[in-house]
């Protein structure tokens, strides 16, 4: 990799060849390659809009290649709401530069000035008269291996015809009619595989009653064992599934984890070994003003993808090809090369769509599982799928968090000094980042040492500290971060990282401080927000929700609001939730208003806002990973319930478009404010606050009885 070139988006400076990004193809299309992949967020469609816009091509002339380690750019992982900001900015510059090169070449051929040229659907016109020359006839004369300079000026937003339009998703028709996912790639002669997972790091397989497993399979299967990695392989998927279903009960392990029930709760984190960091203002040795303090929590939560993780792998002619629904194919290739001790060039990783992942789930791990089997069974295509129980039992979870907010307010009730103190395990153990690993690597001979715990730096958006610094105008703010190093389960990136618990806590404090100051929650927030865009989303959401009709608290009927700017640098979102509380919370309506700068596909953004609101609501109200003894016990949808159709209210999602402003990552912005607005709505309905998520029936009953 080269180092960053100043002024270019990061993706472009590490992939400094135009042909890594774009290719004019014989069928009069342009192939645009991106390292970002489709995970249900519609980003590949949005990126195609950016390319078509800059190249002045109809959308059907743009073909997307997403996630290909051989031919596409390395853009690390599809994460952190960065795809439009980084890949989109790169594709825009590449296409603008390509257009300028093509125009220049065409002008030479036509012996005119580039200023005399226009282009329509890829065909050049001189002074408005179309000729024979097109992108495709001129493209072979250009050296596409050259590095992008970033010097070609993209179109002004006022000229946009495709960007800013509601373009339907390219991938949905297939998904609504038949095969569409990596799971659906079932080539002739494929061997299906399932795994028996090592119960935890360092656990050693003492015995496996293979005869019992084979009896369960019924049809002949192969049992592959390598140290503590076990796979069941065969041409009949039902047989390998039946084998895997009983395998755990026929296996004896040494060194199985023993998790105490208290460890599944966020409260356990306080006092555990931790790496401590202090960001922001020094601690005031003699603080003045009234102290307001409260502690909030969120338990371990799951990605809980609808599909169990799956991958295909084929090892033939000393080359390993992997098809995976992971979030980054270049990192996956590097990580698997390292585990299997193969040269990088001997591996190709290709993305195929899977179910939504919402962060680092089991996708990469399943890819290594499939690769291990494949290199040991050359010339057979291996299709390895996790079981539902594997997915719930062994995905890297969203970490539990404990958040204490300690605020000093002046006589007018205005916050003057704000401390966010956070206890959390790491939010990023992605393989290849230095803190993570692929799961099966631990089961192979010579397992890697346990990675040193680390968390994304606050300057880089933070992990546990994400959104812990108030966006409000408060003179002195600091974050005290305790990165807890001994969690009972593996944890990693889950949509919003620490922002959800932090925003839940921050916005609860804002409501409580407003109440103490005798102020309306909206007015109190607006008085502390100098950023006009933040004020605009809040005011707009409040107006849509009829905030001025909000009644007295404690009636069972609640209206709650919350605001956050994701990472304090990405999209702005304000959410108002109307709800009713009896023994449990009934959501009645959610209003979301966001500002994401220039919006590529408004309907796609609204879809993300709606989905983010539902997911935030589900985490706030229902979800907790249960664990005891050897591991996770919430292994199905009954023991890990998520928000159901009957619990989802109508949602109004609106986008305040600012085509003149840079695009801001929008995929995660609605999640945390929704959870926080529900917390505030429940507090309004009950007249007392619940500090711990999920806001379950048990916790509500406890407040009602108290």
């Amino acid at each position: 990799m080269t180092t960053d070139t100043p002024g270019l988006p990061a993706s472009l400076s590490v992939n400094p060849r135009l042909d890594r990004w774009l290719k004019f193809q014989a069928d009069k299309t342009v192939r645009i390659a991106t390292g970002k992949v489709e995970i249900g967020q519609g980003v590949v469609t949005a990126l195609s809009q950016i390319a078509a816009e800059e190249l002045d091509l109809p959308l059907d002339r743009v073909v997307m290649l997403a996630g290909d380690s051989d031919e596409g750019p390395d853009e690390r992982y599809t994460s952190s709401s960065l795809s439009i900001m980084v890949s989109g900015a790169s594709i825009r510059l590449v296409c603008a530069e390509a257009r300028a090169l093509l125009m220049g070449r065409a002008a030479l051929r036509l012996n005119c000035s580039p200023d005399d040229l226009t282009v329509e659907a890829g065909r050049f016109a001189v002074n408005g008269v179309p000729g024979e020359l097109s992108y495709w006839s001129v493209a072979p004369e250009i050296d596409w291996s050259q590095a992008p300079t970033g010097n070609a000026a993209p179109k002004p937003a006022s000229d946009y015809r495709i960007v800013g339009q509601n373009v339907p998703r390219h991938d949905l028709p297939a998904k609504l009619t038949g095969a569409a996912y990596v799971h659906d790639r079932i080539p002739d002669g494929v061997l299906h595989a399932r795994v028996l997972r090592q119960p935890g790091r360092g656990a050693a397989l003492l015995s496996l009653d293979e005869a019992a497993v084979r009896r369960a399979a019924g049809i002949g299967i192969e049992i592959f064992k390598l140290a503590n990695f076990v796979a069941f392989i065969g041409p009949d998927e039902a047989a390998v599934e039946a084998a895997a279903a009983v395998a755990a009960e026929h296996a004896q392990w040494d060194g199985v984890p023993n998790i105490a029930p208290a460890q599944q709760e966020a409260a356990w984190l306080k006092g555990q070994p931790s790496i401590d960091n202090h960001y922001g203002a020094p601690i005031d040795p003699a603080p003045s003003g009234r102290l307001v303090e409260a502690t909030f929590s969120r338990p371990y939560v799951a990605h809980a993808s609808m599909a169990p993780s799956c991958a295909l792998a084929l090892y033939a002619d000393d080359h390993l090809t992997i098809w995976s629904h992971g979030q980054g194919m270049h990192p996956l290739r590097r990580n698997i090369a390292e585990v299997l001790d193969l040269p990088l060039e001997a591996i190709t990783a290709r993305h195929l769509d899977g179910a939504g992942c919402y962060g680092h789930n089991g996708a990469d791990d399943a890819a290594l599982d499939a690769a291990i089997v494949a290199v040991n069974k050359p010339d057979h295509c291996i299709r390895l799928q996790w079981r539902r129980q594997d997915e719930f039992g062994f995905e890297p979870f969203g970490p539990a968090m404990l958040v204490t907010m300690r605020v000093r307010v002046d006589e007018a009730g205005q916050p003057q000094d704000w401390t966010s103190e956070i206890w959390s395990p790491t939010h990023v153990q992605r393989p290849g980042t230095g803190s993570g690993f692929l799961l099966a690597a631990e089961a192979l001979p010579n397992p890697p040492a346990a990675p040193a715990p680390q968390d994304p730096a606050e300057e880089a958006g933070g992990g546990g500290t994400r959104n812990a610094a108030p966006y409000y105008d408060i003179p002195n703010c600091r974050i005290l971060h305790h990165l807890v190093t001994t969690p009972p389960v593996r944890t990693s990136a889950l949509r919003t990282l620490g922002a959800l618990p932090n925003v839940f806590a921050m916005e609860a404090m804002m409501d409580d401080l407003a109440a103490m100051a005798g102020a309306d929650p909206l007015a109190y927030r607006l008085a502390l927000l100098s950023d006009p865009r933040a004020r605009a989303v809040l005011s707009d959401a409040a107006a849509r929700a009829g905030w001025d009709r909000r009644g007295e608290g404690g009636t069972g009927q609640g209206l709650g609001m919350a605001f956050a700017r994701y990472k304090n640098t990405a999209a702005y979102a304000a959410v108002v939730v109307a709800l009713r509380v009896d023994e449990m919370v009934h959501l009645e309506h959610i209003w979301v208003v966001a500002d994401a700068g220039l919006v590529i596909n408004p309907d796609g953004v609204r879809n993300q806002l709606e989905g983010g609101a539902v997911q935030g609501a589900s985490w706030a109200l229902k979800e907790q990973v249960r664990m005891a003894g050897p591991g996770v016990t919430s292994l199905d949808w009954d023991s890990y319930p998520i928000l159901r159709f009957s619990e989802v209210p109508d949602i109004d999602a609106a986008v305040l478009n600012h085509p003149d402003m840079p695009s801001l990552g929008v995929g995660e912005c609605a999640v945390s404010p929704t959870a926080a607005a529900i917390g505030n709505g429940v507090a309004h309905a009950l007249g007392v606050r619940i500090y711990d998520m999920p806001l379950s029936r048990e916790r509500i009953m406890a407040k009602l009885i108290a």
Partner: protein, 160 residues
């Protein structure tokens, strides 16, 4: 011992040998190439594998192939195609009702059964028909709207 059964899949009658207790989902996906019937949990909890058996929604992950002998199975492939979509598929595209889409084929199947017996369902009737389905991306409100839109299309009305 494999058993020979007759089964009608997406309108075509077939005579096939199935091993005992083979889950229907594997027959559909791996033997018949009907991969739109998706595996989600194998526990009748998520609805990704929903098919119609003699017009009634049923989980293909736990039903055995032999148990549907003599019956008619409809999968998403039998509903419509990308080139010639069913009104439900059309409405889902028009509403862009989906994100990752993994839950959608099962949901479309349950929606088909609903609209077959109730051409003008209320929101709560739609929600009740989808009670056996989960969606993790949060596309619920669009899905509910799309089913209402499909109902209107099938009634020959302009969707609201």
């Amino acid at each position: 011992m494999a058993q020979s059964i007759e089964i009608t899949v997406n309108g075509t009658a077939k005579q096939i040998d199935v091993p005992p207790s083979l889950p229907l989902i594997y027959l559909l996906r791996n033997e018949m190439g009907l991969k739109g019937t998706r595996y989600g949990c194998g526990l009748e909890q998520c609805g990704c594998c929903m098919v119609l058996i003699d017009d009634e929604p049923a989980y293909a992950c736990t039903r055995t192939a032999e148990s549907v002998a003599g019956q008619a199975v409809l999968t998403i492939e039998g509903l419509g195609t990308a080139a010639d979509p069913h009104a439900l598929q059309q409405a889902f595209l028009e509403e862009q009702a989906g994100q990752c889409g993994y839950c959608l084929s099962g949901i479309l199947i349950s929606a088909k059964a609903l609209l077959d017996r109730n051409p003008n369902p209320s929101r709560s009737e739609i929600v009740e028909a989808l009670d056996g389905h989960l969606c993790r991306c949060g596309a619920h409100t669009r899905i509910i709207k799309a089913i209402g839109r499909a109902a209107a299309l099938l009634r020959g009305e302009e969707p609201a």
